[in-house]
Symmetry: C2
Subunit: 282 residues, 2 copies
């Protein structure tokens, strides 16, 4: 059992993990820092929260494990802010959707004897914020843990044990491998939905939406996500996103030229390969 | 009330509309042609079905209204097959997802005094076939009716009245306008989902699927559709699909170059325009 877990910025993910960790007996005390005073007052009223601080470094003081739950573009900055007050043996992790850039920056800012180990728990909900926190948010979901080659193994184990304690299915891989995978299965699919909606916004005279079926609704649902959040994710994972976008553009150009050439067997072949992959997703 | 409605190829749509038309008292008799003998036997057992035929032209004999429910690539061929047996004053329509090519072909094959008026009732389900027919499939869904300039107005009214009788919200427009709209809101979104899955099928070493979230599942759901059906739709609507694909490729190339140039305000602007459109879809 950890003595002290510190949660930096308890939104949906941070508050859910404080609640779950306490509920499952993984930690003795949960300390919290929140930027807004309203959130600090809400936290004080939570049974899973033992102490609330107005300064990030104070909340992190004495922690065994710190989980940074800020927007992805600010994680490395917060890691550097906490660094001076972390005790030797402490481990810092996060819940960000990108890993390469921030893991290298956060690693570089840690003091002697403190390790940063990136995490990406693949859990969430349309509903955001502390008020929607739920103890079973992480249960049976995937969590990717992304040590650098120089990350001490005991710190990696501390982080993996924590997520497994929340009933997550943990896989470790390099931060860059992580970023390649999520560019393919999350970031580029998001950008395609956004680009489709953005194109439709310019072509639709305002009457077509009445004819849209569930297919368009499903395909574009994620385009309703926060532009601020997704701008940050794309900035953080720029190189892999660009590489994956190029792969997709090649595939689409091939499909377009098959249609233009009336090469119907090739069109069908691509549709079948796509269906086969989708059927495996279940 | 129509005296005789003939349904050519009663799958999910055809059987549902026979059931609904009889249930709502829109027709006196429903005649049916089905290719497979098993389907003909099933139809004979349906309370909404008055007569079943082994030849399409026999089923159409004496009909006030014929609705052709075959796959989209075969509609014009069936219209030509029925033509010799249609009585003056009869009206023929269909339920195909594309309109321009087939409306022109079907119109040309009609005998004197018989009109073909294209329809696209925007209703359906993942479940296909007669066994899944339901009388309320069409209720409060959109239906696009697509006369040519030379189509007689009374025939257009017969078709519109029929779909309105099934509680559909009917809009008339030219076949080409229809094809432009559905290329944007249905066919190209489908191809993007297929191309994304086809690209992933080639990049994914087989382990990434375990990390896929609901975002990818939603975005790619339609890629599980029938390759045969969608190949036909794309062939029928080739020109509009190519035009719409080009618009999308331009939008995506713009997004990629904004990301490559680290022009984050432009990235954010596109994400916001997309979100705005998606939020309107509800």
């Amino acid at each position: 059992m950890l003595q002290q877990l510190t949660i930096i910025a308890p939104g949906l993910l941070g508050a859910s993990l404080g609640m779950a960790a306490k509920h499952l007996g993984l930690v003795q005390r949960v300390h919290v820092w929140a930027r807004r005073i309203e959130t600090r007052l809400e936290c004080e009223a939570q049974p899973w929260c033992d102490a609330v601080f107005a300064e990030p470094a104070e909340a992190a003081d004495g922690a065994d494990l710190v989980v940074i739950c800020t927007p992805v573009g600010e994680i490395a900055r917060y890691a550097a802010m906490l660094a001076p007050r972390l005790r030797p043996g402490a481990v810092v992790t996060d819940v960000g959707s990108t890993k390469g850039l921030l893991c290298r920056e956060a690693h570089a800012s840690m003091p002697e004897g403190v390790a940063f180990v990136g995490s990406h728990p693949m859990a969430g909900s349309e509903k955001t914020g502390l008020a929607n926190a739920q103890a079973d948010l992480f249960r049976e979901r995937a969590c990717l843990v992304t040590p650098l080659p120089q990350t001490p193994q005991p710190a990696v184990e501390t982080v993996c044990r924590f997520w497994r304690g929340l009933d997550m299915e943990v896989t470790t891989m390099s931060p860059d491998r992580h970023d390649e995978i999520v560019a393919h299965i999350s970031h580029v699919p998001h950008l395609l939905a956004s680009a489709l909606c953005s194109m439709l916004a310019q072509q639709d005279p305002g009457t077509w939406q009445a004819f849209a079926g569930n297919g368009l609704r499903d395909t574009t649902r994620i385009a309703a996500g926060s532009p601020t959040l997704w701008r940050d994710i794309v900035e953080q994972n720029r190189d892999e996103v660009l590489r994956t976008l190029s792969s997709f553009e090649d595939e689409l150009a091939l499909l377009r030229s098959s249609i233009a050439n009336r090469d119907w067997p090739s069109v069908r072949h691509l549709l079948e390969r796509g269906k086969h992959y989708r059927d495996l997703l279940a």
